[in-house]
């Protein structure tokens, strides 16, 4: 289905620039080395890539959430001037499906589409508009089928089976203690969370450049180059060595770039046309081009003694995984393990279900299962406090989990786990000043300059929440990162080159790598080379793991370089390596002072070390949901202060205070940025962010209708950073990216409840819920821990 063209002479792309930087040492706030090109507009993002003779790719997507495809005719599109290729599933030479955990997602759909926006055909043309018009000329004959749009309905026997393996993608059950435990005080609740989008600003995009031997170079924004490469190679039917990936500038990720989007498509088109092919989604397409955060329905029952000790938690969590598996398996496990919160819970019975439906596929997003569970368990803790007549902070502190105790999934809580301390700290942050509402600047009132209240009906509320998250990949995955460090002399100065495949997605990873190399080697200048597949895998920039994993790999590679230098000093100068250290470009002996300059010791050589760092072993959960599944745990406590216009349901968040346990603040400025940015996403989920779905179709695929917090919505953040070293982690650090997103949502909702006295069991909280116009959740009897997908509730 390809028109043959004269192959233009291919220009090899220059590799991205990697300037030398002089970062601070670890623990110092240091300016990011990509900051200057980013403010000048010179940093090259994946949508900025350009090559002479390149073509534009475009994707035909299903308008229906569930349909059979009876025929597909591309001939008219192919005949259009300026169109170079129109490809369908028949043109996928290798594996026709992909997926990180379960390869169940078609590269291009064949006989059936399972969600609105599923790719069916791809086009390469000489202009994006030509490509778009060519899509209109592809005729597809659909038989529209009834979509399965409700996760609970997907469980029922009568629901159409969306995949051969059935609609239940995964069920994780945790049994802990006595399932028949009873308690003095019992509270039940049903909670719901809408579908959140990552809304990263840089759309899915990249450039595929064919080589002359049947291979391809892909310049791409992603979170994990090697898993992309393996999936791309598999579908292209190529040896992985023939598919080379280079990280291009990434405009945010938050989990939304873990799955493939246009990677295989661009490579297919490039190989078919023998031309470079660029694909860039627009915002609407981006909403269809990546997975979202799982919507969930969660039913909980908490039992406690009359003096406020938790006795049991029973929970049934139902996640809508959408049409394909993505990383839903792991989300289902995570949610189950975090379902009870960071509390000492003697007895627990948790069922976590992940369902296939015809809704948009859901997968990884910052917080990964812990976000949903946290909203529910924290809402329950507030309910329980109310039932007990206790202060919600006191109840949480009373039940806070501590090192040496066991989580309900059996793993011992490793130190440090300063749960109570974080809550105490956040409570001790001075309250924001409460200005007289009457006569205030309108911009400081709910509704702002919309001029809706001048102070009438405005109530203030305060809420607290605790959250936690596993850092790193879990449940038996042998996760690792690779780093190559080379030390040489350039311009009469020692220079370290750090090469990893770790994805800088905005978090500041290249800066922290440079800080580590500078600290470990006692030198000034470091170059962090562009991330690509010429070096071994670094694993994913997700699960808050990359500073831990790649940080540790860079540290170990530097240590290996250092050992090499010290061995040489021992040979040449007879110094005891145990007595040596590196400082200011010199080898220094504790006893004898400066031994030799690094420039002299190294001369014209390059000292290179390549290492792999693996974290400690984890194990999958057993049939009772027990096991040492996670590597590390990070905790955060939040306090939200809100003001609500109780007549119109409008909200102004006044302030968020946060206390987070970070182990070691590697770059305090960047770390604060993670906390503030994570809280903003939690605020968005609490108040405004939801992909609206009607009959399986997305109703708000734009920034006009999918709202994310603006600078007017975000309050000041007061962040307390607690540095208690984790003895097992490099520098004692803990991952920091996710915890801020987890507890901020329930803290804000708790504050809204405090201000309004309403239950508010669904996020995002809408004005009609606040003023009491919303329908109440259906009054169904609670069936915690019911034993099968066909639970008795229906």
């Amino acid at each position: 289905m390809t028109r043959t063209q004269t192959t233009p002479t291919l220009v090899t792309r220059e590799r991205p620039k990697a300037p030398a930087s002089t970062p601070g040492r670890i623990g110092e706030s240091t300016i990011r080395s990509d900051g200057v090109p980013k403010v000048r507009g010179e940093f090259e993002y994946s949508s900025d890539l350009w090559m002479n003779g390149m073509l534009w790719g475009a994707t035909l997507r299903s308008p229906h959430p569930h349909a059979n495809i009876w025929s597909l005719d591309t001939s008219e599109a192919e005949a259009m001037p300026g169109v170079y290729a129109v490809l369908t599933h028949e043109d996928v030479p290798g594996r026709k499906v992909y997926g990180m955990e379960i390869p169940d997602q078609p590269v291009l759909a064949w006989e059936r589409v399972r969600y609105q926006g599923e790719p069916i055909a791809i086009v390469a043309a000489d202009h994006p508009e030509t490509a778009r018009r060519a899509l209109d000329r592809i005729s597809v004959e659909y038989e529209v089928l009834e979509p399965v749009t409700d996760a609970e309905e997907a469980m029922s026997e009568s629901a159409p089976k969306l995949h051969l393996s059935g609609n239940v993608l995964r069920h994780v059950r945790i049994e802990h203690g006595d399932p028949a435990a009873t308690a003095d005080v019992v509270v039940t609740g049903e909670y719901e969370i809408g579908m959140q989008d990552h809304a990263f600003l840089g759309p899915e995009s990249g450039l595929a450049v064919p080589d002359e031997e049947g291979g391809v170079d892909l310049y791409i924004s992603t979170q994990w180059l090697h898993i992309d490469r393996d999936q791309v190679a598999e579908s292209l039917g190529l040896d992985p060595g023939m598919v080379r990936l280079t990280l291009s500038g990434v405009g945010g990720a938050f989990g939304g770039r873990e799955d493939l989007s246009m990677q295989i498509h661009a490579c297919l088109l490039a190989l078919h046309t023998s031309r470079p092919v660029k694909m860039v989604y627009n915002r609407e397409e981006s909403f269809f081009g990546h997975v979202h955060r799982h919507p969930a329905k969660m039913r909980y029952e908490h039992g406690a003694t009359s003096d406020g000790r938790l006795v049991y938690v029973r929970a049934r969590l139902i996640f809508d995984g959408g049409a394909y598996a993505s990383s839903s398996n792991a989300v289902c496990l995570n949610a189950a393990t975090f379902a009870c919160g960071p509390y000492d819970v003697p007895h627990a019975e948790i069922d976590s279900y992940m369902l296939y439906t015809n809704n948009p596929p859901c997968g990884a997003m910052r917080g990964f299962g812990a976000v949903q569970a946290c909203f529910a368990h924290e809402s329950q803790m507030d309910e329980l406090a109310q039932a007990l007549g206790m202060d919600p902070v006191e109840l949480r502190i009373e039940n806070a989990i501590e090192p040496g105790m066991r989580f309900p999934f059996g793993q011992e809580v490793p130190p440090p786990a300063p749960v109570a301390e974080l809550l105490e700290r956040v409570s001790a942050v001075p309250m924001p000043e409460e200005k007289e509402v009457v006569g205030r600047d309108l911009r400081e009132l709910p509704g702002g300059v919309s001029n809706v209240t001048h102070g009438e009906g405005v109530e203030r509320g305060v809420g607290y929440a605790l959250g936690f998250k596993n850092i790193g990949f879990s449940a038996g995955f042998d996760d690792y990162s690779t780093a190559r460090v080379t030390l040489s002399v350039e311009d009469d100065e020692p220079l370290a080159r750090v090469h990893t495949a770790a994805a800088e997605v905005g978090q500041g990873l290249i800066t922290v790598q440079a800080q580590i190399a500078r600290t470990e080697l006692g030198i000034e200048k470091v170059v962090v080379l562009p991330a690509d597949t010429r070096v071994g895998s670094a694993g994913s920039s997700s699960a808050s793991r990359q500073t831990y994993m790649t940080g540790a790999a860079v540290k170990m590679a530097c240590e290996a370089v250092r050992e090499h230098l010290f061995e040489r000093v021992r040979e040449e100068f007879g110094e005891d390596p145990g007595d040596l250290f590196l400082e200011d470009g010199r080898v220094v002996s504790g006893g004898h002072g400066i031994v030799v300059l690094l420039t002299e010791l190294i001369g014209g050589e390059e000292i290179e070390e390549l290492v792999e760092f693996h974290h400690k072993e984890t194990i999958p959960l057993d049939e009772k949901g027990q096991g040492d599944a996670h590597v590390q745990f990070a905790f955060a406590a939040h306090r939200a202060v809100v003001e609500v216009d109780t007549e119109l349901g409008l909200v102004r968040v006044v302030e968020i205070a946060s206390a987070q346990d970070v182990g070691k603040a590697m770059n305090p400025q960047a770390l604060e940025g993670q906390i503030e940015g994570g809280i903003a996403q939690g605020l968005g989920l609490a108040l405004m962010e939801e992909i609206q779905i009607g009959e399986g179709k997305v109703l708000n695929a734009s920034f006009t209708d999918y709202l994310i917090p603006t600078i007017l919505d975000m309050p000041p953040v007061r962040a307390e950073i607690l540095e208690l070293a984790d003895p097992e982690a490099p520098y004692g650090l803990k991952g920091v990216g996710e915890p801020p997103t987890i507890a901020s949502t329930p803290a804000i909702v708790a504050a809204l409840r405090d201000a309004t006295g309403r239950k508010l069991s669904r996020v995002p909280v809408k004005p009609d819920q606040i003023v009491g116009l919303a329908k109440k959740p259906p009054d169904r009897p609670l069936q915690p821990g019911s034993r099968g997908p066909q639970g008795e509730e229906s």
Partner: protein, 160 residues
Amino acid sequence: MRLSCRVNGEDRQVEGVWEGESLLYVLRERLGLPGSKNACEQGECGSCSVYLGGVLVCSCLVLAGQAEGCEILTVEGLAEGEALHPVQEAFVETGAVQCGFCTPGLIISTHDLLERNPDPTDAEIREALAGNLCRCTGYEKILDAVRLATIRTGTNEDPS
């Protein structure tokens, strides 16, 4: 069609522009100036902000033809040689840049704010930048950046 305009102080002419192209597309794909960003192409996020004839616009909402004969200033035209504009400097120093995709638009918008109001209050900063979405920072450090830029560009003395 042919388009002639003056971009960042330089006369530029491009041939073969399709009539439906936006100014953003022409800047990014035809003039080699991808600094203005394509985050939403719906006029909602401010990432493509440029000056057109001295007026702050979302270049995704401007048809290329409207720029005929006009003066355009993009983020690439703010620095003088190696020296960053004080607004750019402030964004780097305060940690207001993470992924950086919103940064060019925010820098142009901040530049415009300070032209109009050399000493804005926090409320005025928030109002002026409410059309620029950022997904990474939570805006706290962006406020810091604008406050610092205000000091650096204004008649105010740097208190530090």
